[in-house]
């Protein structure tokens, strides 16, 4: 039972990996690819690590640390890359600037 659940998590993570990494080869803007990578590298890897956690529950402290650092580092790296890619004021994509809130 646990095995099936763990394989489901790992395979879900693998599907996320392939789906989110595939757009890297295309010709979209960096930011669009960044959205795909946030699916693949953050959510996909988290699913895989949860799958591993189900297999070896006695190593939970280190795997939970892995989960936390995965989510924080990948998210912060996404923000930093997005910040560095865009210049002040000018964007190569998405000219519409609305006022949401």
């Amino acid at each position: 039972m646990i095995n099936i659940l763990s394989y489901t998590c790992i395979i879900l993570g693998l599907v996320f990996w392939y789906w989110g990494t595939w757009p890297l080869l295309g010709r979209r803007s960096v930011l669009y690819k960044l959205h795909g990578l946030s699916v693949a590298d953050t959510l996909g890897s988290m699913a895989i690590v949860v799958g591993l956690l189900l297999r070896i529950p006695h190593e939970w402290p280190l795997l939970v640390l892995a989960l936390i650092s995965l989510s924080i580092w990948n998210t912060v790296l996404g923000y930093v890359l997005a910040y560095c890619v865009t210049d002040d004021g000018t964007h190569d994509v998405g000219q519409e600037v609305g006022h949401g809130g």
Binding site: F16, L34, I72, T75, A82, G98, G101
Partner: protein, 129 residues
């Protein structure tokens, strides 16, 4: 009074890395946490903190939901939207806000203007009317 986030983060990393709840280890962990130098000592309201940490817990299933949405329906449009920062946010709360927005796959914070605006990059299914 110190930054809650700092202390929580340090203690969590310490206990998860050592995986040892003996008294000696707890004393060492708390001692190192307090002794390590820290930067800003500006603390927001505890209520804001609790609400934001609750939002973090909600954000994880929501992130998976959005991931399935953009997998099932192609989102091809990209837009940039300015959003206002909630009032009386301290730097670490703003960090958590940016973390929350960027963590969900459909939105990424591009830039934080110091006058209280985020630039958020969205992907959508079609052009907004």
């Amino acid at each position: 009074m110190t930054g809650y986030l700092n202390i929580i983060l340090r203690l969590t990393i310490w206990f998860l890395l050592t995986a040892d709840l003996s008294w000696a280890n707890i004393v060492i962990g708390v001692g190192v946490t307090i002794l390590l130098p820290r930067g800003v000592t500006n603390v927001g309201l505890l209520k804001d903190w609790l609400r934001t940490l609750g939002e973090v817990a909600v954000a994880i299933p929501q992130a998976y939901k959005e991931a399935f949405e953009i997998m099932l329906y192609p989102h091809r449009e990209e837009t940039v939207v300015l959003e206002r920062v909630k009032p009386r946010r301290t730097p670490s709360l703003i960090f958590l806000d940016i973390f929350l927005i960027t963590f969900t796959p459909k939105t990424i914070v591009q830039r934080y203007h110091s006058r209280g605006w985020y630039e958020v990059h969205y992907i959508q299914r079609r052009e907004t009317p």
